[in-house]
C-alpha cells in the first residue's frame, strides 16, 4: 500500500482536484478525439441509430493527402515562423524598456496590455479598416500599396495575420518578461558596467541569459496559441481566403467537423496538430534549455 500511495498519501488528496480537472477537461476529450479519428464519425442525436464505422487510418490518409488540409498546415508553419520570433524579440525588448525608469511607464504598460484583453472580434474590425484596399495603411503607402491588397494577397495574408496576432498578444508576453526581469540580479548589471560593457552588451550578456526560462515559456505558449489560430483567418480574411492561403488547421477542423459534418476527419486533423505542436515544442525546449 505504501509503495502504491507513496510516503505522503495526503498528497494524493491535494492533487486529486487537479487530476480530476485534467482528466475531465483534457484527457477524456483527447481520448474521444483519438477514437473519433479512427471512425467515420459525425455528431448524432442521442439514441439515433446511425452508422459510424471504423475506418482505420483513412482519416489520417486524408489529412496527409487533401490539398486544403496540407495548405492549412503550411500556412500555420509560415505563421509560426513569423509570429514566434517576432513575439520573443518585441516582448523582450519592450519589457526591458518598460522595466527601465522611463516617463509614463505605467501608461505604456497598460497600453501594451489593452489589445490583449480586448475581444478579438472588435480588434479585427479595426484591422479590417486599416488593411483593406481603401484602408489607412494603403492611403499612407500610396503607390507603394501592394496589389492585390493585404487581405486578398495570397503572399501577404498570413504575414499580416502573424503581425496582428503578435501585436494583440504582446501585452501578455511583456508581462511574463517583466516578471522574469525582476529576478535578474542587479549586481550582474553593475559588474558589467564596471567591466565597461555598453547597455546593448549588458542586455545581450546579462538580460537575455537571465530571462532564458521565461523565453522558453514565451516560445512554448506562442507556439501553442499560434498553432490554434482560428478567429483571425475566420474574420480577417473571410474564412481563410483568398483561395485558402490563410486557412489554419483549426479553421479547417471547424469547416470539416462542424459545417460539413466530418467530425472524424476533423479529429484526425486535431490529433496531427497536437502531435506536431508537441514535436515543435520539444525541439524548442531542447534548443532553448541546453547549455
Amino acid at each position: 500500500m505504501r509503495t502504491l500511495l507513496g510516503r505522503h498519501p495526503i498528497g494524493l488528496a491535494f492533487v486529486a482536484p487537479y487530476v480530476v480537472f485534467l482528466v475531465a477537461i483534457f484527457a477524456y476529450p483527447l481520448c474521444i478525439a483519438v477514437y473519433m479519428s479512427f471512425h467515420d464519425w459525425f455528431f448524432a442525436a442521442p439514441g439515433a441509430a446511425v452508422d459510424r464505422p471504423f475506418v482505420g487510418l483513412d482519416n489520417y490518409a486524408t489529412v496527409f493527402s487533401d490539398p486544403g488540409v496540407q495548405r492549412s498546415f503550411l500556412n500555420i508553419l509560415v505563421f509560426l515562423v513569423i509570429n514566434v520570433p517576432l513575439t520573443v524579440v518585441l516582448s523582450l525588448g519592450l519589457a526591458a524598456a518598460l522595466n527601465a525608469a522611463i516617463p509614463f511607464r505605467t501608461f505604456f504598460r497598460v497600453s501594451f496590455y489593452v489589445p490583449y484583453v480586448t475581444a478579438s472580434v472588435a480588434v479585427v474590425g479595426v484591422w479590417l479598416f486599416l488593411f483593406n484596399a481603401d484602408g489607412l495603411v494603403n492611403s499612407v503607402l500610396g503607390d507603394l500599396a501592394p496589389e492585390p491588397s493585404w487581405l486578398v494577397n495570397s503572399g501577404l495574408t498570413m504575414p499580416v495575420i502573424a503581425v496582428y496576432v503578435t501585436w494583440k498578444q504582446l501585452g501578455f508576453f511583456i508581462l511574463l518578461y517583466l516578471a522574469a526581469l525582476q529576478n535578474v540580479p542587479k549586481e550582474l548589471y553593475e559588474s558589467a558596467a564596471v567591466d565597461g560593457a555598453s547597455r546593448l552588451r549588458a542586455f545581450w550578456t546579462v538580460t537575455v541569459p537571465g530571462v532564458r526560462p521565461a523565453t522558453t515559456l514565451v516560445v512554448l505558449l506562442a507556439t501553442i496559441t499560434g498553432a490554434n489560430l482560428f478567429t483571425e483567418p475566420y474574420l480577417l480574411t473571410g474564412g481563410g481566403g483568398p483561395d485558402g492561403t490563410s486557412a489554419s488547421p483549426v479553421l479547417v477542423m471547424y469547416q470539416r467537423g462542424i459545417e460539413q459534418g466530418q467530425a472524424g476527419l476533423a479529429a484526425a486533423i486535431g490529433i496531427v496538430l497536437v502531435v506536431g505542436v508537441l514535436i515543435i515544442s520539444l525541439v524548442n525546449r531542447y534548443l532553448l534549455e541546453r547549455d
Partner: protein, 430 residues
C-alpha cells in the same frame, strides 16, 4: 515503472470509456410520438419582422390551444443558425420546430438522426403538395421522404442604383442588363462613368454559401432551372456553367467586381452600383437608394417571365427531440395557413411558398407593386440540391470557383471540371 503501469492502466480505462461514446440505440417509437399532443418549444429567426410575426402566430395558437402551449424563442446565437441547430441535435435539446431551417443543412441534420420525416403524418404529403405544388419536389430527400416543409423563398434578382446609372449616362429606367454582353457593357460604363467604384460586389469570400449569391442565380437562369447536382452528378461543369464562370471571370478580371469583401453595405454606401438581393432588400434600401430591379442576366437574354433564379428559401423542420409531434405538425400547418402566410408576407415581404401567390394575395401585391416581380419569380426558383454531403459539395465548389474565377489562379474550365469529379464522389456519399 509501477507509476508507468498505473498511468497506462488509467489511459486504457479512459480509452475504453471513450469507446462507449458510440453507444447508440433505438430512435424511440416514432408512431406513438407522431400522435402525442402537449406543450412544445419552437425557434424562429432573429430578424425583427419575423420575430414580430412569430410572436403573433404563437399568441394566436396559444389562445386557441390552451392545452398545447407553444413556447417560442429566437434561435440562440452562434456562428450560424445551422451550427447552433446541429449542436442542439447532438445535445438532444433541439426544439420541436425551427422556423428557419436552411435546406442546405437538411441532409446533414437528417444524417444526424435529428429530423422527423413529415411522412409520419398521414396528411403531410398532400398538404405540402397542395400548398407548394410542383416545387415541393425539390425538397424531397434522397430516401424519398420529406424532412422539411417548404415555407418561404427570397428569389434573388439584380437591384441597381438609378442615380449611379444616370450619372454614368445609362438609361436608369430601362438599363441594358438582360444578356451577359449588355451587362458587361453597362458594368463598364457605370464604372468608367463614375457611377460607382464597382459595378457589383458580391462577397468574394470563401464561405460555402457565398456561391448562392453570385454563381448560382445566374446558373439557374442560364440552365432554365437546373440544380448544382442532379441525379447524383455535378451539373456545373457543362457549357452553361462555364459560360456563367466566364462571365464572372470577366467581371473580376476587369475590376468591375471587387476581390475584397466590403465592410459594410456596398450597395447602400454607393460602393457598388448593383447588388444581387431578395425581396428583403425593398424595406432595407427604401430610404437609402433609388433603386430599380431586373432579373439576373443570361447569355442570350431569356425573357424575364421565363428566368429562373436561386430561391434563398428557409423552411420549417421538425426535430427528433420533439415529444409532442402531433401538436408540432398541427402548428406547422397553422403557421403556413393562407391566413398566416398572408401575415408573413405583410410583415416581412418574403414569399410564402404556395402556388399562385399573386392570386392568393391580390390586395397586397396591388398595394406593393415592387414585390410583384418577386412573386412571379417565386414560381421559378431553384433550390440547393438535397443530397448527401451538401455543405461539403458547396465548399468544394466555392473553393474551385474562388481560386479560378475570383482570383484567377487557375483556368475556370479546368477548375470546375476537377471540382465536378470531387462533387460526384461527395454526392455519392463518399
Amino acid at each position: 515503472m509501477k507509476r508507468t503501469v498505473i498511468a497506462l492502466f488509467l489511459g486504457t480505462a479512459l480509452t475504453l470509456t471513450a469507446c462507449n461514446v458510440d453507444g447508440g440505440g433505438g430512435g424511440g417509437d416514432a408512431g406513438a410520438a407522431a400522435g402525442k399532443r402537449g406543450p412544445i418549444t419552437i425557434w424562429y429567426s432573429n430578424n425583427t419582422e419575423e420575430v414580430a410575426w412569430g410572436k403573433s402566430v404563437v399568441t394566436a395558437w396559444n389562445d386557441a390551444h390552451p392545452d398545447e402551449k407553444v413556447t417560442a424563442q429566437e434561435i440562440p446565437a452562434g456562428k450560424s443558425s445551422e451550427e447552433t441547430i446541429g449542436a442542439a441535435i447532438a445535445a438532444g435539446n433541439a426544439p420541436c420546430l425551427v422556423l428557419n431551417t436552411s435546406p442546405a443543412a437538411v441532409p446533414q441534420f437528417q444524417k444526424q438522426g435529428g429530423l422527423v420525416p413529415l411522412d409520419d403524418f398521414a396528411d403531410a404529403r398532400s398538404y405540402v403538395e397542395e400548398r407548394t405544388g410542383e416545387q415541393a419536389k425539390q425538397y424531397e430527400s434522397p430516401d424519398g421522404k420529406l424532412y422539411q416543409l417548404p415555407w418561404k423563398s427570397n428569389p434573388v434578382v439584380i437591384f441597381y442604383n438609378k442615380q449611379a446609372f444616370a450619372k454614368a449616362g445609362i438609361d436608369a429606367e430601362h438599363p441594358p442588363l438582360a444578356t451577359y454582353e449588355e451587362f458587361l457593357a453597362t458594368a463598364r460604363q457605370v464604372v468608367s462613368g463614375g457611377g460607382a467604384q464597382y459595378a457589383i460586389l458580391p462577397a468574394p469570400t470563401s464561405e460555402f454559401f457565398q456561391s448562392w449569391f453570385d454563381f448560382y442565380p445566374l446558373f439557374a437562369a442560364e440552365t432554365g432551372g437546373r440544380q448544382l447536382v442532379e441525379d447524383g452528378r455535378a451539373t456545373f461543369a457543362g457549357d452553361e456553367g462555364k459560360k456563367v464562370a466566364a462571365f464572372w471571370q470577366t467581371m473580376y478580371g476587369e475590376k468591375l467586381a471587387g476581390q475584397e469583401k466590403y465592410n459594410g453595405d456596398a450597395f447602400a454606401d454607393g460602393k457598388a452600383a448593383m447588388a444581387i438581393v431578395g425581396p428583403w432588400a425593398i424595406p432595407v434600401y427604401k430610404d437609402k437608394v433609388e433603386w430599380g430591379s431586373v432579373p439576373v442576366p443570361t447569355s442570350n437574354g431569356t425573357p424575364a417571365n421565363e428566368i429562373h433564379t436561386f430561391s434563398d428559401a428557409k423552411n420549417i423542420a421538425m426535430y427528433s427531440a420533439c415529444e409532442n409531434r402531433a401538436t408540432a405538425w398541427e402548428l406547422m400547418k397553422f403557421a403556413t395557413s393562407e391566413e398566416q402566410d398572408g401575415k408573413l408576407l405583410e410583415a416581412t415581404g418574403q414569399m410564402p411558398m404556395r402556388t399562385d401567390l399573386e392570386g392568393a394575395y391580390p390586395d397586397y401585391f396591388g398595394k406593393n407593386p415592387a414585390y410583384t416581380m418577386f412573386a412571379d419569380m417565386s414560381s421559378r426558383t431553384v433550390e440547393v440540391p438535397n443530397v448527401a454531403n451538401s455543405i461539403a459539395i458547396w465548399q468544394k465548389f466555392r473553393d474551385a470557383y474562388s481560386s479560378s474565377v475570383i482570383f484567377g489562379r487557375s483556368e475556370p474550365d479546368t477548375a470546375l471540371t476537377d471540382a465536378a469529379t470531387d462533387v460526384d464522389k461527395l454526392a455519392a456519399g463518399s
